[in-house]
């Protein structure tokens, strides 16, 4: 929901509450929900992209070089990337979940 829609009366609602502006969820920043932040270290990354697939918020994009890049505006800090990272099988997850307080 964008700021424009916040002023809508019920008469302004599109039939069936259809969202006519595809992808406008990008305006909804959910990063503020986070209490822990995934911090990526590339040393052991095999560029498999599993973290990108698993992130439930599509907050991870893969860079041209093939590494994950976390969009902190959207990352809710669930920690799934840290757990599902392929390298965590060997106890070498590329993500460390760090208390958000540390970044204040």
């Amino acid at each position: 929901m964008t700021s424009k829609e916040k002023t809508w009366t019920w008469r302004d609602i599109p039939v069936g509450a259809v969202v006519e502006e595809p992808g406008n969820a990008s305006e909804y920043l959910t990063g503020g929900w986070r209490s822990e932040r995934p911090v990526f270290t590339p040393d052991h990354c095999v560029q498999c992209g599993l973290c990108y697939v698993y992130c439930p918020d599509a907050a991870i994009v893969m860079t041209r070089e093939g590494y994950p890049d976390i969009r902190l505006d959207y990352c809710k800090g669930c920690g799934i990337c840290a757990r599902e990272c392929f390298m965590s099988t060997f106890g070498l997850s590329c993500f460390e979940m760090v208390d958000e307080e540390e970044f204040r």
Binding site: M1, I13, P14, V15, G16, A17, V19, P22
Partner: protein, 392 residues
């Protein structure tokens, strides 16, 4: 040319669905809806109906499938009953809120347990607040006609809401009656092609069935509620134009020998025909009784009903379902609310009748009406009702 043929009501309903030229039927078989979808699957398999028949694994899936197909702009039909409707419950609200003009026939049946395949209205009353337009039909011809009427109204861009046609299981669905069938040319004049208000289209992407924060949900619900209430004008127009085409005129509320009657009987669905025989017999005996039939359940035709009930001092309201633990049963609750400020306020006798297929005979109506005639008209205690025929 229209022709008059003897046919099982379920088959006639399927023939109406065929004439509506639906694109999708998604259904799971359940007694007593089975003959409707069986015949539709035959029509599709034989190439007589150019549609996709989706054999789903449950009613939850059936309703989900038609939500998807309707959102994609396909004319979509399903049918169910009882447990099947209960299993659809979750998706019913989604279909109406997404404003998808699906048409569904419910062959009304009791709810388990104990398992009962027989007729009453427990199924639909448990889902009555699902936001769909809801009709109750009385005979085969009405059932056939209302498939076409329901699509016409539901798909009107000003409405864009799904519709349920309630048709009593077995006592209506499985009887053979004469039907006047329409031909394709007549249907084409009445039912234009489906032009959805918005639809899933990769070239013009939209998001449907999204989530809403508290700042937004309220307005969506208000818009949905207004659409259902405002659909009444389109329903009336749908009936009027149907009458111009066929000569068969339907109304939200119909009366039979109701003028000046001391006691009025309010019925819905197939019981109306049996009740009218009782009214005839009693009128012959000089007794002041009449019948009011409620054809439209949602949007509730409050004004029409208030007028039809007129000055009657005593009203017998039939319910075909128990609202367990409630102040009163579903239909009686509506009527009591409607007449709260009537002057003088009539007495309401609430009778729960024909549960789980318990037979309802003409004599039962006579007994009920005679009893009401013998009582005075001072309003009784709220929530008092009689369970007709129960062994004490």
């Amino acid at each position: 040319m229209s022709k008059r043929v003897g046919m099982e009501v379920s088959i006639a309903v399927s023939e109406a669905v065929k004439l509506a030229d639906v694109d999708i039927v998604a259904a799971y078989p359940i007694t007593p809806q089975t003959h409707i979808v069986e015949h539709l699957s035959e029509l599709v398999a034989d190439g007589d109906l150019d549609a996709e028949f989706v054999c789903v694994e449950s009613e939850h899936s059936a309703m989900s499938a038609v939500v998807g197909s309707s959102a994609a702009g396909a004319r979509s039909f399903t049918a169910t009953a009882s447990q099947g409707l209960a299993l659809m419950h979750e998706i019913l609200f989604i279909a109406s809120s997404m404003r998808l003009p699906i048409v569904m026939v419910v062959a009304n049946r009791a709810l388990s347990s104990p398992l009962s395949i027989w007729n009453d209205h427990s199924d639909i009353m448990a889902s009555r607040d699902c936001g769909w337009i809801q009709y109750f039909v009385e005979n085969g011809q009405e059932s056939f006609d209302h498939v076409l009427i329901a699509f016409r109204v539901a798909e009107d861009p000003a409405v864009s809401l799904p519709a349920i046609i309630n048709l009593d299981g077995f006592v209506l669905s499985h009887v053979i009656e004469p039907h006047i069938l329409l031909d394709e040319e007549e249907v084409a004049r009445y039912l234009p092609p489906f032009r959805p208000v918005s639809r899933l289209d990769p070239d013009h992407p939209v998001t449907m069935g999204d989530f809403a924060t508290p700042e937004f949900y309220l307005e969506v619900k208000k818009a949905q509620e207004a659409a259902l209430r405002d659909s009444r004008a389109v329903i009336d127009r749908g009936w009027k134009e149907f009458a111009e085409l066929t000569g068969r005129q339907y109304q939200a509320v119909e009366t039979y020998k109701a003028d000046g009657a001391e006691v009025l009987l309010l019925a819905m669905g197939a019981l109306g025909e049996t009740a009218s025989v009782a009214i005839d017999r009693m009128r012959e005996r000089g007794l002041s009784v009449g019948l009011v039939k409620l054809r439209l359940w949602r949007p509730f035709p409050a004004e029409d009903l208030r007028q039809a009930l007129g000055d009657a001092r005593k009203i017998v309201v039939l319910d075909r379902a128990i609202s367990f633990g409630a102040a009163t049963n579903p239909v009686a609750a509506e009527v009591a609310g409607l007449l709260y400020d009537a002057e003088p306020r009539p007495r309401i006798f609430n009778m729960v009748i024909g549960l789980g297929g318990r037979d309802v005979r003409v004599e039962d109506f006579e007994a009920i009406l005679e009893k009401a005639l013998g009582e005075d008209s001072a309003p009784g205690p709220v929530g008092e009702y009689e369970l007709i025929g129960v062994r004490e």
